[in-house]
């Protein structure tokens, strides 16, 4: 112990020596270190390594805070009202609870259900169709979408730059916040996008009862939930695999095409083999994120399980469509497409799914609206 202290002291002495040599040469006192405060971001111990390259965008307190303001501020939209937080609300694990499809600017309706924003650092792609491959490139999409924010990215940057000018209606001085986060007041695409990524990377949900169970707390799940977990592993984890409860693949789960004949992943790849495939979503906080499926067609998890069971005797939802791209895991029973789930198994599965609810995450004030957002 003594030796250790000694070493540390030596280390300090050495570094201050180096410091004084450096400042001595210019005869000016070294300025007190300022600039953004680094955040030592570490992944939850039971999570895999993140996909997002944090070394290219190291998190800082000021960067994350700027990202949080940008996330909630309606300045991103044409009419100043629609922020990211409008359709991605914290209490619903950053989804638009109760909305099959979200209504964006001027109450225009989108074509797909808002996905949760959580654990974004592990996402291999974004959107139901995976059209965006990098978190940094995500924000321009909703900003420019005519039914979401209907604004140009260029104009958003200009509006942000103007928030320190006389006559601004903004309650936030963005050039000042950019200066705190990045050293100067300059507002560029890269800075804006990286600040937003910093905030979204910081939004980690890893404190559900299931997480405590994974980390060794046997009492975190009750016996019905444990039974549900074992059924989940047999019947659901083929797609909803791993700690994040998704393999991030694109699959056709047999939902009959909706009115607009949304072909999903094939819109991006232009490949017939990708028709009607959508991203397997993570099931974290799934009890909070209804309605379900890419178009929000099911309002409850019971309906979701009934759908997968595809039993025409027990459910009016039994309509798994036998299209050429239907996922092979839904064809295991030669007699009937879908996944056989008995009613007792359903009850256990539903109990297990509630163990994925992370209340610390949905109540974490670090992710909350700083008081500038609009939620409808």
């Amino acid at each position: 112990m003594k030796l250790l202290n000694h070493t540390i002291l030596w280390g300090f002495a050495l570094s201050s020596l180096l410091f004084s040599c450096k400042s001595g040469s210019t005869d000016t006192p070294e300025p007190i270190a300022s600039g953004p405060t680094p955040i030592d971001w570490t992944k939850p111990a039971h999570f895999p390594d993140p996909v997002y390259d944090i070394s290219k965008n190291p998190l800082t307190e000021e960067g994350v805070e700027l990202g949080r303001f940008l996330f909630y501020d309606g300045i991103l939209s044409r009419n100043g009202l629609i922020g990211c937080g409008t359709c991605h609300q914290q209490a619903a694990a950053f989804t638009h609870h109760g909305h099959e499809l979200s209504h964006g600017i001027d109450d225009r309706i989108g074509v797909r259900n808002a996905l949760p924003i959580q654990n974004m650092a592990w996402n291999t792609s974004f959107f139901w169709d995976g059209g965006v491959h990098n978190l940094d490139l995500f924000p321009p999409a909703p900003i420019q979408n005519p039914v979401e924010m209907d604004e140009t990215f260029d104009n958003v940057l200009q509006k942000l730059r103007d928030t320190d000018k006389a006559g601004t209606t903004s309650r936030v001085n963005y050039p000042q916040m950019f200066e705190k986060a990045f050293g100067t007041k300059e507002i560029t695409s890269e800075r804006m996008l990286k600040a937003m990524s910093q905030f979204m990377v910081s939004m980690v949900s890893a404190t559900s009862p299931y997480d405590y169970y994974l980390q060794g707390d046997q009492a975190a799940l009750n016996s019905l939930q444990k039974e549900g977990l074992s059924i989940f592993k047999q019947k659901c984890a083929g797609c909803h695999s791993g700690t994040l409860l998704t393999d991030y693949s694109f699959r056709n789960n047999g939902l009959p095409p909706n009115k607009i004949n949304d072909i999903g992943r094939a819109d991006i790849t232009l490949l017939d083999e990708d028709k009607y495939k959508f991203k397997v979503p993570s099931l974290r906080n799934v009890a909070l994120t209804g309605p379900y499926m890419h178009d929000g067609r099911f309002s409850t998890l019971e309906e979701v399980l009934d759908y997968y069971d595809n039993n025409q005797k027990s459910s009016k939802l039994a309509v798994v469509e036998l299209s050429p791209t239907l996922d092979s895991l839904l064809k295991l029973d030669p007699a009937r497409a879908g996944i056989r789930i008995s009613s007792t198994e359903k009850a256990a599965l539903l109990a297990f799914l509630t163990s994925l609810t992370d209340e610390q995450f949905t109540k974490d004030i670090r992710f909350a609206d700083p008081g500038i957002g609009n939620a409808f």
Partner: protein, 255 residues
């Protein structure tokens, strides 16, 4: 012609260092439709399908530029300085001057129409200037991360939609996770009997023509009535294949 231009420049010779190793070279993209100059909105042209059309927007990226010498050796423009967006609406975008080009007689130019796949998936810090996703001319698909390599828009009486407009937004770099359509095209324009001689004194200008008419003709005759909107569809490959032949050399100014 070339010789007389050279002699005009003789006065400057004293200013040039003896035995200069590098000089300047300008590449000019002059957009035309057949034998007519391209005029936005005002003029009506006729395509290979015998359909009248106007042009309101004509933009395209050129990148990865390379100049060849007669002996087959080449000068590759440094990667980070090799992305340009040619816009009919902005004459200054149509002339690109390269500095620090090794002296020599250049006989061909090669470039990519579009933004190569590596840059298309690069970190946002590499997306500056004309590659900035906030770039006001919006040559970027936000929902399907990728650049629009060539954008041609306008109107035609044969289009049976309320606004009579056509939109060709051609992109797709081959996909990030899944291999998909790749519309990246590399074009080489040979100067034939001409050459661009870069010396300490001479900064030649290579004047290329970009013929919009060729977008509609070639391996596929593109009909505005049949396909007024072509964006991220399989059909886009036909337009990309057509436009590889839209570039030609008009002339080279020696000085």
């Amino acid at each position: 012609m070339a010789i007389s231009l050279v002699s005009c420049n003789d006065d400057d010779n004293t200013m040039e260092p003896v035995g200069a190793t590098h000089g300047e070279l300008t590449l000019e993209y002059d957009n035309v439709v057949g034998n007519r100059d391209l005029a936005l909105d005002t003029d009506t042209y006729t395509n290979a399908a015998n359909e009248p059309f106007t042009v309101s927007t004509f933009n395209y990226y050129v990148s990865n530029i390379k100049f060849y010498k007669a002996d087959g050796s080449s000068y590759v423009v440094p990667q980070d300085s090799s992305y340009f967006l040619i816009r009919e609406s902005d004459p200054s975008s149509q002339e690109i001057t390269f500095k620090n080009v090794p002296v020599g007689d250049y006989t061909a130019v090669e470039f990519m129409v579009g933004v190569d796949s590596l840059r298309s998936v690069s970190d946002v810090s590499k997306r500056i200037g004309v590659l900035d996703p906030a770039y006001s001319e919006v040559m970027y698909w936000a929902w399907n991360s990728g650049y629009i390599f060539m954008k041609l828009e306008g109107e035609s009486d044969v289009i049976d939609t309320p606004n009579g407009k056509y939109n060709f937004h051609i992109g797709l770099f081959g996909g990030y996770e899944t291999k998909t359509l790749n519309n990246l095209k590399t074009v080489k324009v040979d100067f034939g009997e001409h050459k661009a001689s870069v010396t300490g004194e001479l900064s030649p200008q290579i004047h290329l023509l970009t013929d919009v008419e060729k977008i509609f003709s070639g391996s596929t005759t593109v009909s505005l009535a049949a396909t007024p909107v072509v964006m991220t569809s399989d059909y886009s490959k036909n337009i990309a294949a057509n436009y590889t032949s839209m570039f030609s050399l008009d002339h080279i100014h020696a000085d």
